[in-house]
């Protein structure tokens, strides 16, 4: 039962985290191309303030009660934060670097992807890592309300029977899984960006 629930929750978790990467590209483009930024910035600043859980009824009506709604809850809850964070990180790259790249013959896309994106990537990964708990929180909310499997579903189910002998190990298991993911991402970040640790 634990493995089956872990697999179901992990699948949703991985899909949700994968969906955060397009958010990174949106944030990057908003920062690098002024017209994209002008179009989206206010929208995402407002979108970020919407309490995702308050949208639960609308999400269930719009996307049904299967997998998509749970993933959409995470997307709505976490992507605006990642978009705005990437936007700010991209804007934080010193202008000297951008001017220098232009003088070396780079165009707008080369600067966006080969200078700015590469420099902010370790910080973006850190940002995603620090938001994993929020991802899990929204995933748990979705699973507790409308699901037939998953770690949160099992906790919600056993709550009715006061099944503490299962709930407490489940809670610790979730914490351990998140801790390992966090550790893994941190190690991967250091491996992929050896220059980052010491700057």
């Amino acid at each position: 039962m634990l493995w089956k629930d872990s697999a179901a929750t992990s699948r949703r978790f991985i899909i949700s985290v994968a969906l955060l990467f397009p958010a990174v590209l949106i944030g990057l483009h908003m920062a690098m191309f002024p017209y994209v930024g002008a179009f989206f910035l206010r929208f995402f600043q407002f979108f970020d303030k919407i309490v995702a859980l308050s949208l639960l009824p609308i999400i269930f009506i719009a996307f049904g009660i299967d997998e998509l709604s749970k993933i959409m809850l995470i997307v709505i809850g976490v992507t605006p934060t990642i978009i705005l964070d990437t936007f700010n990180l991209s804007k934080g790259v010193p202008s000297e670097q951008v001017v220098k790249a232009f003088t070396l013959g780079a165009g707008d896309f080369a600067i966006a992807y080969r200078i700015v994106f590469k420099q902010i990537l370790p910080r973006v990964l850190n940002s995603i890592r620090l938001n994993l708990k929020a991802v899990m929180l929204f995933l748990f909310a979705g699973e507790m309300i409308a699901s037939t499997d998953g770690l949160a579903y099992r906790i919600a189910l056993l709550r009715r029977h006061m099944g503490m002998d299962t709930i407490i190990p489940y809670v610790l298991w979730v914490a351990l899984l998140l801790f390992l993911v966090d550790l893994g991402m941190n190690l991967l970040n250091r491996k992929l960006h050896p220059w980052f640790r010491e700057t």
């Binding site: 670097q97 013959g105 165009g107 080369a110 590469k118 420099q119 220059w195």
Partner: protein, 272 residues
């Protein structure tokens, strides 16, 4: 026409709630190809603004700036650039920093799948190593990341990174200001040697009059515009005999005094 032509250039900056502040006023300057020009002046007099105009990063409010006979609206390969800070890309090794310009100019932003890339990259690396050695660094330094180098070494790499593209003009904005005196003198000698070898036009901005005199074949001082009394700067083309690093201290002191007395301290800005 080669070289740089600055014609009647003025620059105004908006200051929130206080109208416009004129930074530069009616600057006229002609820089011949192959010259080494030092621009000197006090902090806030518009030296870096003038450099940004030549670079194409900013547009003048009035007048025009032509580089190689062409007005530019964005920095490009015509002018190499060595700023005081953030010269190098921290995520790339020293060699990757130097080859970046060659690579991106030939292959564009997404080059990984180009079949000729591996061969060309080997050639670029060999060329980069040549420049690296010329600036006093070695192959082992080429494998390091910028944060593993000293400030002086970083600026050596930044110069190699700019010169490998053989730009007609090299712009240096307080490039040695953050270095200790010993390293600074070494860098000054190096840039002078590289200028003699390459024939590149160099515009060197500094607030250090002594450095300006030792490096430049001509010294341009930015000073208060006494005619307008608006706190803006005009360019004074100061005629000084050429001196070198080995010139006598007395002679250098006399010339430093000569240049600095021409650049009257800037008054408080006047807004209109």
């Amino acid at each position: 026409m080669s070289g740089i032509l600055i014609q009647n250039v003025s620059v105004d900056y908006p200051v929130e709630g206080r109208g416009l502040r004129r930074i530069l006023n009616g600057i006229d300057l002609e820089i011949e190809a192959g010259e080494f020009i030092s621009i000197v002046g006090q902090t806030g007099c518009g030296k870096s603004t003038l450099l940004r105009l030549i670079l194409g990063e900013e547009m003048p409010t009035d007048g025009q700036v032509l580089v190689n006979g062409r007005a530019r609206h964005q920095p490009d390969r015509t002018c190499g650039y060595v700023p005081q800070r953030y010269s190098l890309f921290p995520d790339k090794t020293v060699l990757a920093n130097i080859t970046f310009g060659l690579e991106v100019s030939e292959f564009g932003p997404f080059s990984l799948f180009n079949p000729s890339r591996p061969k060309r990259m080997r050639e670029f690396r060999a060329e980069a190593l040549r420049y690296l050695r010329r600036t006093g660094l070695n192959e082992a330094d080429g494998r390091k990341y910028p944060h593993q180098l000293s400030g002086g070494m970083q600026q050596r790499v930044a110069i190699a990174q700019a010169l490998i593209l053989k730009p007609p003009v090299l712009l240096m904005d307080e490039a040695f200001s953050a270095l200790d005196p010993g390293t600074r003198t070494g860098m000054q000698r190096l840039i002078k040697e590289l200028w003699r070898e390459s024939g590149t036009t160099i515009v060197f901005v500094t607030h250090n009059t002594r450095e300006a005199l030792c490096l430049g074949t001509r010294v341009i001082a930015l000073a208060k515009d006494s005619a307008s009394e608006r706190g803006s700067s005009v360019a004074l083309d100061i005629s000084v005999p050429h001196i070198d690093f080995d010139s006598g201290e007395e002679e250098i002191h006399r010339l430093v005094h000569h240049v600095e007395s021409a650049t009257i301290p800037l008054p408080e800005p006047v807004y209109n």
